[in-house]
Symmetry: none
Subunit: 423 residues, 2 copies
């Protein structure tokens, strides 16, 4: 079964607001095996909204729309739905009473325009809204069910389950569509999208495979998406788990997490589980690595702190990088990276220390150390420190992002090695 | 003139990724007086993408699409564009050489599938991509210009200006758009959107004013957008400048920059202009402040470095905050903030030092120091340090963001005071 998702509003069309409702609804629909056919966003424009409703109703048995239910003159979704289904707008007395009660509870006068929010196409059903003044609507038109919710995300989210789920149950049962879709995402770091696809191999990447596998890349992280659609929830879950196991086996240690978990979250959890502490010394990333780690709630259990060693003086005075190392090898060198990591480890009395020093650009590159040259060192209590040279592509922002993530990934691989060798 | 925006990808249709590209493009188009007619999102499905291109080309003179240019089998945008314009896919040798060079620079083998990214419909023009392997495409079809960009936001943003703006200039000129639209943005920090609107007053905020003024808020920064549409470029520029002067006069020192300039860029420029250096000491922000400063190219001229004093040990051992201060007043206190700033100043031998210590949450709040409590201190060579208590709303991410920005704004106001009193 398919559905069309409509978003209505000038603020969306003009790009002033990013539409997060549609992705949220799409994820909910998937749980019922309902696939969005397309998402369409239109302006607060009566003919455009009316046409969008009509086209959608002709193409799918379910349409879910958000937005344009407010009390002001640019809110036209009610009128458009009435025009699309060919019915006049009528006042729903129960909704009007609820809107009046909403204002009374807040001891605020009700503007007369708010009464318009109690109007809906003749024959449509109002969907009560406990957290705002705009009730939603449920209309039926030439075999299509149309649900309309307010565009305010908190109101949509509060209203969706009580009003949409009973309908989804009914429609999916009637469609005999006994299918359920479950999805998952496997996140990898350290290789490009095409190489990850090559590692998965043609059998896993086949377009007619069930469950279906796809790859996406965002900020250096290649994610493998798995979509499992089967007649029963049990089968969808079993097949999803089997495919996830195949994906993990094919990709090995490139895999760092499932779903929304970040590299910094994984490193934080691994450190806490193995009772290890971390310190950082950052030159070209200037605090970004520390910031990624401390974004994670609870990171104070493993993160001791760090040094932003941006200037050479700072590297020498705060982390004792010898001046002759800085002069002979330069700030961007294996020797400097190792000294930063080793001295950060000692001074912070930590179990691990990560150090980053590189050329983030746009200036400062030389023929033998071009922009993108970054040394990353890992020091470890009772072990010799190691450093590796990287060449990151892109602009300053991308080079810094990849440097910080690669540092996290270096520690992640070390911690996973430790825990697998201890078991 | 109107445009259609297409987003392509299963991860968007399934709701696994929120589409931020479309809003970003819509905002850029508006600067050229180009209004999106609709935004459409379709799956990685050849017939759906092909139909989307054809429908869009029939309805608007400009189509901008993102996504589906990756090297894997689920990336079908090239094939769909070829089908829509009725041309075979051919290899562009220059693009292929660029893709090979991309991998060579990174000393990584190129998967054969990446060669597919050098293919484009016969007659289409490749749009070089300096930060990834997928070139974009520019095709023309029955009077419509179609631009296709990668879905990776950083690649899109790097490619848009060089490739889209010359076309927008040509199309809007050819549309005989007798009017010219110039826009500008005045960025403020330190007050809410409704208060900024109140300071501007009803005359400036009138909906029928020319130039038209609107406000938007993003991540704590309230921006006043001015849109100046007049018959000639000279008049549009003159009217824009006059309105900008009125806006600046109404908002005074809340204004920190114009257009895309960040708080960190302003602080960096002010420091460099007055030959001042800066050090930082960060507790709850964990490196975010340093990261914002070092995002700015050239910040090494004024930023000496800093300390991420995440644990109490670190505050005591690295920046000499007395243990009795930490015990008596706590890590989140005026005394700790002042000690951090003063000692960072001295140890770094800097002209200014900013220190941040607070409760970012979600845990760690107490009745007298709830989540969002943040002390920000500014130390200055030859002057007493000052600290101020802030209570930021929102979640961990928002509290950390506001703390770092407020620290930058504190220094910005001090530097602007210095430069105005010296003239």
């Amino acid at each position: 079964m398919q559905a069309v998702l409509l978003s209505i509003g000038d603020e969306l069309i003009l790009g002033q607001t990013v539409d997060t409702n549609t992705a949220w609804i799409a994820e909910r629909l998937l749980e019922w095996g309902v696939m969005p056919l397309y998402h369409l966003t239109v302006a607060d424009d009566l003919p455009a909204i009316t046409a969008a409703f009509k086209d959608a109703a002709a193409r799918a048995p379910l349409v879910i729309a958000t937005g344009g239910l407010g009390p002001t003159e640019d809110d036209l979704t009610r009128e458009a739905l009435a025009a699309a289904v060919g019915q006049p707008l009528v006042t729903d007395e129960k909704s009007l009473a609820e809107i009046r009660a909403f204002f009374a509870r807040r001891s605020r006068p009700m503007a007369e325009r708010n009464a318009l929010q109690a109007m809906l196409p003749n024959g449509a059903r109002p969907l009560p809204n406990s957290s705002g003044t705009a009730p939603g609507m449920h209309a039926q038109f030439s075999g299509c069910d149309i649900l309309v919710f307010p565009g305010v995300p908190s109101e949509l989210k509060a209203m969706f389950d009580p009003h949409a789920i009973p309908l989804l149950q009914k429609l999916t049962a009637a469609a005999g569509n006994a299918s359920v879709i479950l999805t998952a995402k496997v996140n990898t770091y350290g290789d490009g999208e095409s190489n990850i696809a090559a590692r998965l191999g043609p059998a896993l990447m086949r377009r007619d495979r069930h469950p279906l596998i796809g790859t996406t890349v965002a900020d250096g992280i290649v994610s493998v998406r798995v979509r499992s659609q089967f007649p029963t929830r049990e089968q969808a879950r079993r097949e999803l788990d089997a495919t996830l196991a195949e994906v993990r086996a094919a990709l090995g240690s490139f895999v760092f997490s499932l779903d929304q978990q970040s590299l910094a979250q994984v490193v934080t959890e691994l450190c806490i589980a193995s009772k290890k502490t971390l310190a950082v010394a950052e030159s070209c990333t200037g605090g970004l690595l520390g910031s990624l780690i401390t974004e994670v709630p609870g990171s104070s259990a493993m993160f001791r702190g760090g040094w932003i060693v941006y200037s050479n003086d700072f590297k020498n005075q705060q982390l004792d990088v010898p001046l002759d190392v800085l002069q002979q090898h330069g700030a961007v060198s294996e020797a400097t990276a190792l000294a930063l990591a080793e001295n950060a480890l000692k001074k912070a009395d930590a179990d691990f220390a990560l150090a980053i020093t590189g050329v983030a650009g746009p200036t400062g590159g030389t023929p033998d150390k071009p922009v993108g040259t970054v040394w990353i060192a890992l020091a470890e209590r009772h072990s010799p420190a190691t450093a590796r040279l990287h060449n990151f592509p892109g602009d300053r922002e991308m080079i810094r992002d990849r440097a910080a993530k690669t540092a996290l990934n270096t520690l992640r691989l070390r911690l996973q090695n430790l825990s697998s060798s201890s078991t």
